[in-house]
C-alpha cells in the first residue's frame, strides 16, 4: 500500500548535463515496490508550480532501503528539484500505479483482445526467453529498476536497447553493464555520436525481423512507443510500455491522467488512468492516437 511521508534526500548527482540521479530513503519498503511504479512529490514549496511531479523509481538498494529517481530537467519543477541538496526533504507519495509484469508476458492478454496469432506465443520454447528492453532517453529510468529485478530471474536473454540524442544523454551505461554480464547493451544516438546512428526503434526492428525477441518492455517518448507498438503488432509479440500523462492526484481519484485503452467490444475504447491502471500497460491494450 502506498504511503505519504516526509523523507530526506540522501544524495543528488548530475550524472549527465541536465540529468540527475536523486536518492532518498523512501517511506515504503523498496522490496515491496515494483519496477514501473512511480513516486509523486512536489519540487517546490510555493503555489507555483502547484502540482507534484511523477517520477519512476529508477533504482533501489534493498540493503539500505534506498530508492533513486533519474530525471531530466525539462521545466520549472525539475529545475527546482535540481537545486535541492542532500538532507532537503520531500513529501513523497508512493509507490503508485501498476508496474511491469515480470516475464513471461502474454498472460495478461485475453485472446479476444489480443492481436491475432497470440496463441503462437504460448507454444514458444519455454527457455530461454528473449527479452528486449527498449529505452528512449530518460525512459531508461523505470527500465533500470526492471533490469535490477530481471537479472536475478533464470532463463532470460536480455537485450537492452537505448536511444538518445547524443553520447552524453546515453544514461546509466556502466551501471547496466555492472548489473550482469549476460545483459547485452545496444546503443543508438540521433546524431550518430555513439553506436547506431538513428532511432532506437530501428535497432528493435532489426532484432524483430531476425526473430531474436520474444517480448518487449519499453519506455520513452510517445512517438517511440507508438513505433514499438506497431512493430510488436506486426510480429505478434507481447510487450509492455510505460506511459506518461499529466497527473492531478496521482492516486486515481481525479480522472485527469487517462489514456485510451481497448474496450470490451470491437473498436470500442475506455479511458484508463495512467496513475492507477498504468503507468505500465500491455502494449496491445493501448489505443494509440495521433
Amino acid at each position: 500500500m502506498a504511503s505519504y511521508n516526509t523523507v530526506n534526500i540522501t544524495r543528488q548527482e548530475e550524472i549527465a548535463p541536465g540529468f540527475y540521479l536523486l536518492s532518498f530513503k523512501p517511506p515504503f519498503l523498496v522490496r515491496q515496490s515494483q519496477p514501473g511504479q512511480f513516486v509523486y512529490f512536489r519540487c517546490g514549496n510555493t503555489y507555483d508550480p502547484l502540482l507534484p511531479r511523477p517520477f519512476s523509481i529508477a533504482m533501489v538498494n534493498e540493503e539500505k532501503n534506498e530508492a533513486a529517481i533519474l530525471y531530466q530537467v525539462v521545466g520549472r519543477g525539475t529545475a527546482l528539484l535540481a537545486q535541492k541538496k542532500e538532507l532537503n526533504c520531500l513529501n513523497i507519495l508512493g509507490p503508485l500505479g501498476r508496474g511491469f509484469t515480470l516475464p513471461p508476458l502474454g498472460r495478461p492478454f485475453q485472446p479476444k483482445r489480443g492481436p491475432k496469432g497470440l496463441e503462437q506465443l504460448e507454444s514458444f520454447p519455454q527457455s530461454p526467453l528473449r527479452i528486449a528492453v527498449v529505452a528512449g532517453g530518460v525512459g531508461i529510468a523505470p527500465l533500470f529498476f526492471l533490469l535490477q529485478r530481471l537479472k536475478d530471474l533464470p532463463n532470460l536473454i536480455i537485450e537492452v536497447l537505448i536511444g538518445a540524442r547524443n553520447t552524453k544523454q546515453l544514461l546509466l551505461k556502466p551501471e547496466i553493464k555492472n548489473l550482469s554480464p549476460q545483459i547485452k547493451l545496444r546503443l543508438a544516438t540521433d546524431d550518430g555520436s555513439y553506436g547506431y546512428h538513428g532511432p532506437v526503434t530501428e535497432m528493435l526492428s532489426t532484432l524483430l525481423s531476425a526473430n531474436k525477441v520474444d517480448q518487449v518492455y519499453a519506455c520513452g517518448p510517445e512517438a517511440m512507443l507508438k513505433t514499438v507498438a506497431r512493430l510488436l503488432a506486426k510480429y505478434n509479440l507481447p510487450g509492455e510500455v510505460s506511459l506518461e500523462k499529466q497527473m492531478g492526484c496521482g492516486v486515481g481519484a481525479c480522472l485527469s491522467c487517462v489514456c485510451k485503452t481497448k474496450g470490451d467490444k470491437e473498436n470500442s475504447f475506455r479511458y484508463s488512468r495512467v496513475c492507477k491502471e498504468g503507468p505500465v500497460f500491455p502494449v496491445h491494450e493501448v489505443v494509440w492516437e495521433d
Binding site: 503555489y47 502547484l50 502540482l51 499529466q246 492531478g248 492516486v251
Partner: protein, 306 residues
C-alpha cells in the same frame, strides 16, 4: 482546555466538523482512504454522478496553470446504478455523511437521478452541479441562466426528501441573483464555487491544450474570486453556504468562514497534500482554541461586521 464545538448544521444535516471534500477531487473516497481517516471528515462529496455511465472528455484533461489547474474531466463516472451497487455500500462502512454530487444535461435527467438517489439509504444530501451544459437550450450552462437554475432546483426538490445543496458557477454576472433564484426555488443550501471557465494554449501545437478546449480553473489562483462569491451571497441570501475554491490551509478555510461559509470544501488541495483535509481540520480547531472561540459557528460571517 475548553471543548471546541466544531459541529455545523446545514439544511438540517448535522456535520461533526466543517471540512468536506469537494466533488471530483476525492474520487469516491476509496482512493484517499490510505491517507485519510474518512471517519474524521465532516462529509464526503463524491464525484459528479449521472444517470447513465459517462466516458468523459478526451485527454488531455488537465493542465497546470499559475497557482492553479484547469480541468476538463467531463463527468466521467460509472452511473448511478454502479454507484448504488458498489460504491455506496463501500462508503457506508464509514461513519461519514455522503453528499452525492449530481449532473445532467436535461432537467428530466436531474429529476430522474434525484428520484433514484432518494430511494437509496445512506445518502446525506444531494449537491446539484448546475455548471453542466443544458443540451436542450443550446449547451449554455444551467448555472448561467437563473431561470434554468431554478428549474433544475425545483425538479430535484420535487423528487427528493433529502437536503438539496445547489452548487453555483462563478461564471455569471451576478452570482447573488442566481443564489436568490435557487433559494426561492427551494434550495436548502449553496455550494460556492464551482470552477472558473478558462483555456490554455499549447505553444508548440498552436492549439488549445485540453481535449475539450475549455476547462475549469481551480486552486489557489481562484481563492479571491471564491471568497468574493461567498461574501456577496452571504450578504444577500440567508441559506447556509459551503465555501470552496483554493482552500489549501486552515487559514484559507477560516477566511471563507469569516466571509460567510458555514462549512468548507477542499478540492485541488487534496492533489498537493492527500492529508490536506485533516491538516485543515486540525488547524481550524487550533485557531479556535488559541483565540478562545468556543463555537465555530460564532465565526461565520464575522468579517461582515464593522
Amino acid at each position: 482546555m475548553v471543548a471546541i464545538d466544531l459541529t455545523v448544521e446545514i439544511a438540517g444535516l448535522k456535520l461533526k466538523n466543517p471540512v468536506i471534500t469537494a466533488s471530483g477531487t476525492f474520487g469516491f473516497g476509496q482512493e484517499y482512504a490510505p491517507y485519510v481517516d474518512l471517519n474524521r471528515l465532516g462529509a464526503i462529496t463524491v464525484k459528479g454522478l449521472t444517470l447513465l455511465p459517462h466516458p468523459g472528455n478526451p485527454p488531455p484533461r488537465l493542465v497546470e496553470t499559475p497557482a492553479g489547474i484547469l480541468n476538463a474531466i467531463g463527468l466521467q463516472n460509472p452511473g448511478v446504478d454502479y454507484f448504488a451497487a458498489i460504491i455506496l455500500p463501500y462508503l457506508s462502512q464509514f461513519n461519514v455523511p455522503v453528499i452525492v454530487n449530481m449532473a445532467g444535461e436535461t432537467v428530466e435527467e436531474y429529476a430522474a437521478l434525484a428520484a433514484k438517489l432518494s430511494k437509496l439509504n445512506n445518502i446525506a444530501a444531494l449537491e446539484v452541479n448546475i455548471s453542466c451544459p443544458n443540451v436542450k437550450k443550446g449547451g449554455l450552462q444551467f448555472g448561467s441562466d437563473p431561470a434554468a437554475a431554478a428549474e433544475v432546483t425545483r425538479a430535484v426538490k420535487n423528487n427528493t426528501c433529502l437536503p438539496v445543496i445547489v452548487k453555483l458557477s462563478p461564471n455569471v454576472t451576478r452570482i447573488e441573483t442566481v443564489a436568490q433564484v435557487v433559494a426561492q426555488a427551494g434550495a436548502d443550501a449553496l455550494s460556492l464555487i464551482n470552477t472558473v471557465l478558462g483555456i490554455a494554449i499549447d505553444l508548440k501545437k498552436r492549439r488549445p491544450i485540453l481535449g475539450n478546449i475549455f476547462g475549469g480553473l481551480s486552486g489557489p489562483a481562484i481563492k479571491p474570486i471564491a471568497l468574493r462569491a461567498v461574501w456577496q451571497v452571504f450578504k444577500e441570501v440567508s441559506l447556509p453556504i459551503i465555501g470552496m475554491g483554493g482552500i489549501f490551509t486552515a487559514q484559507d478555510a477560516l477566511e471563507f468562514i469569516m466571509a460567510g461559509a458555514k462549512a468548507v470544501a477542499v478540492g485541488t488541495a487534496n492533489f498537493i497534500n492527500p492529508r490536506a483535509t485533516i491538516d485543515i481540520l486540525e488547524g481550524i480547531e487550533n485557531y479556535l482554541r488559541e483565540n478562545k472561540i468556543e463555537r465555530l459557528s460564532d465565526l461565520v460571517g464575522t468579517a461582515h461586521c464593522k
